[in-house]
């Protein structure tokens, strides 16, 4: 359309180009300031008032990270060990249940959305009594259980929203050509599903890694987590330690989100749809 007619808009786009570029550049600069500031703060010690940079840039927090009994390292390792288990369990549940929820609407979808919509801390407080009775409060298993509830709900939603009807048609084809149930999974479902499963696994992993409300209520301060340490640093106003913890906290989400974006982008070619 734009090739054949030279609309007023296409003329204006050319004259707008440098302006929009400069606006985008400015926006990018504003966007990067907080991240750079956080990194800069994590590299130094102290930040007394009128100074724009930390008092001493001596890599202080990073040097002590690998010292014996470092609280931050212990918390990061616990979160890092717990999250793959939560992710694996919830992705499996999501894969099993998600496609069915897609074809059954109404109450089933409502149930799947409920933990996603409700504030985890309020649900955590309401379930704390049950966890105490069962004896799971303040234990890693308890945290694993409650995180799995929320992560599974998320996985179910993800699979139910993104399950394409093509998979079902392929399944039917393999089945009618004489394939067994295993063949259906191997040849029809899995090739189209592995990317979605990877996305779901990474997202649920991140949910568990970034969770604060559930660890703080059910874990009761006994189970260490990186988010708990960061919030306690922020509350005691130790800027550099908090920034250091946040940088460690931020690395996996940003890497994984870009990875997920790449996976999804290749799956759904946008831009071809609109003219």
């Amino acid at each position: 359309m734009s090739d054949t007619t030279l609309s007023p808009r296409s003329l204006r786009v050319g004259s707008r180009d440098w302006r929009s570029r400069s606006i985008i550049g400015l926006a990018l600069a504003i966007f990067t300031i907080p991240y750079l500031l956080l990194l800069w703060l994590s590299l130094g010690t102290g930040w007394s008032y009128p100074n724009l940079s930390p008092d001493k840039v001596n890599f202080g927090p990073w040097k002590t990270l690998f010292a014996d009994g470092n609280e931050l390292l212990r918390a990061a390792l616990t979160s890092g060990l717990l999250s793959p288990f939560v992710a694996t369990l919830s992705t499996t549940i999501g894969m099993m249940v998600g496609r069915q929820v897609q074809s059954h609407r109404g109450i089933w979808r409502f149930i799947a959305y409920l933990p996603f919509a409700c504030s985890p801390v309020i649900i955590g407080i309401c379930l704390l009594d049950l966890f105490i009775r069962v004896g799971l409060d303040g234990s890693l298993v308890g945290v694993f259980a409650i995180q799995s509830i929320f992560a599974s709900a998320f996985a179910v939603i993800l699979f139910s929203e993104l399950w394409s009807p093509e998979i079902r048609q392929m399944e039917n084809l393999v089945q009618t050509l004489g394939g067994t149930r295993w063949d259906v999974w191997r040849h029809a479902v899995w090739p189209r599903l592995w990317k979605l499963s990877a996305v779901c696994w990474l997202q649920t992993l991140l949910f568990s890694w970034l969770d604060y409300s559930l660890v703080s209520t059910i874990g009761g301060g006994v189970v260490p987590a990186l988010t708990l340490s960061v919030i306690s640093y922020v509350r005691e106003a130790s800027m550099n330690q908090a920034a250091h913890g946040t940088i460690i906290l931020l690395v996996p989400p940003i890497v994984f989100t870009i990875l997920v974006g790449g996976l999804l982008r290749r799956r759904v070619p946008t831009g071809a749809v609109d003219g």
Partner: protein
């Protein structure tokens, strides 16, 4: 591939009957049309074009079909029970527990069933305040998020295709609430970077001169942080929507019919986005209503958001306040469930 071609060419009723024969469940909405007449009418012509289907359809009552049917029933029971046990049961337990506790049914200090706690809670300014305040903040956040999204998309519709935009959105999406709150505090707080810059520029003489934006009366810092947390989700959704409903073409059409650039944006693109994005707005509202980490770090002492107020009342030292925490929890869960029901209903009627 072959089957998908065939499926496209045969009528809906035939397709559904075939799936049911295969032992699959067909949703009620899709099953609306089939009648015995239409089935028999289309069956022959469709089965003739695929010999395999023709042979299997004649053995509809065979043993293998029965077995497949039974196993799919079993599978259906299995997924339903997983959904019920893993997700629904804890949720229902939590709701019932909160309701019973708030009515005095359980609790160490409880002296029997009573509505006393509800009456106290209704007259307690901190609880009513938390209720109204949460709704106010959630509405404000939803409004700001939508304004920012719409403004950005209407002015720079081409930005959604750029790599830089996608990377920025993804990085923002990967930044958790705790980190956003900390960044906002580092930049906008009284001892933050902007305050220091203004000091060096000679605008203020001490940190106290800088207008309070964190833990302040108007909750500026908190609102900004929640908005920044939800903005990538909304931007991603609406930019996908922009492509999916082909708003570009509609704008082009409007412009070639004589509308100005702004008219095409405000009278064509904006209503289309708003109409299609209502369910997303509900979701944004629910998510901002339940935010916890940001209000915990950047909010003021009173009034507080739902989550923070409930957490404070439930885990505080004063055990007599505990039933009121559950009153608040019941209120929150009821509101969220109602909005969620509206959301699910809307999604269902628009698909």
């Amino acid at each position: 591939m072959v089957q998908s071609l065939i499926f496209k060419n045969c009528p809906t009723s035939t397709r559904n009957n075939f799936r049911e024969f295969q032992g699959e469940h067909v949703s009620h909405r899709a099953r609306r049309l089939p009648t015995a007449h239409s089935w028999s009418l289309h069956r022959k012509s469709w089965c003739d074009c695929m010999p395999i289907f023709a042979s299997t359809s004649s053995k509809a009552t065979s043993m293998s079909a029965l077995l497949r049917n039974a196993s799919s029933r079993l599978y259906q029971m299995a997924w339903r029970s997983v959904l019920l046990v893993v997700i629904a049961l804890p949720m229902v337990w939590a709701m019932c527990y909160a309701l019973t506790y708030s009515l005095g049914g359980i609790g160490r200090l409880s002296s029997g069933w009573t509505i006393k706690h509800w009456l106290v809670a209704i007259s307690e300014p901190s609880i009513v305040g938390a209720f109204l305040f949460s709704f106010l903040i959630a509405s404000a956040v939803t409004f700001f998020v939508l304004t920012a999204t719409m403004g950005f998309l209407l002015i720079f519709p081409a930005a959604r295709r750029s790599r830089a935009f996608l990377i920025v959105i993804l990085i923002m999406m990967g930044t958790p609430g705790i980190a956003v709150a900390q960044m906002v505090a580092n930049v906008l707080g009284p001892g933050g970077w902007f305050s220091r810059l203004s000091y060096h520029a000679g605008l203020i003489h001490s940190a106290n001169d800088f207008p309070p934006l964190i833990n302040d009366r108007f909750n500026v810092g908190m609102t900004i942080s929640i908005v920044l947390g939800l903005l990538p989700l909304s931007l991603l959704y609406f930019s996908q929507l922009w492509g999916a409903v082909r708003i570009d073409r509609c704008c082009h059409l409007a412009q070639s019919l004589g509308a100005s650039w702004w008219d095409a944006r405000l009278r064509v693109a904006l209503p289309m986005l708003v109409l299609r994005g209502k369910s997303m707005m509900m979701l944004l509202f629910i998510l901002s209503l339940g935010s916890y980490e940001v209000p915990l770090l950047l909010g003021q002492q009173s009034p507080q958001m739902f989550s923070v107020a409930t957490q404070r009342l439930a885990t505080g030292f004063d055990l007599t306040l505990k039933p009121q925490a559950y009153v608040l929890a019941v209120l929150y869960l009821t509101c969220t469930s109602l909005i969620l029901m509206m959301y699910v209903h809307r999604r269902q009627s628009h698909e």
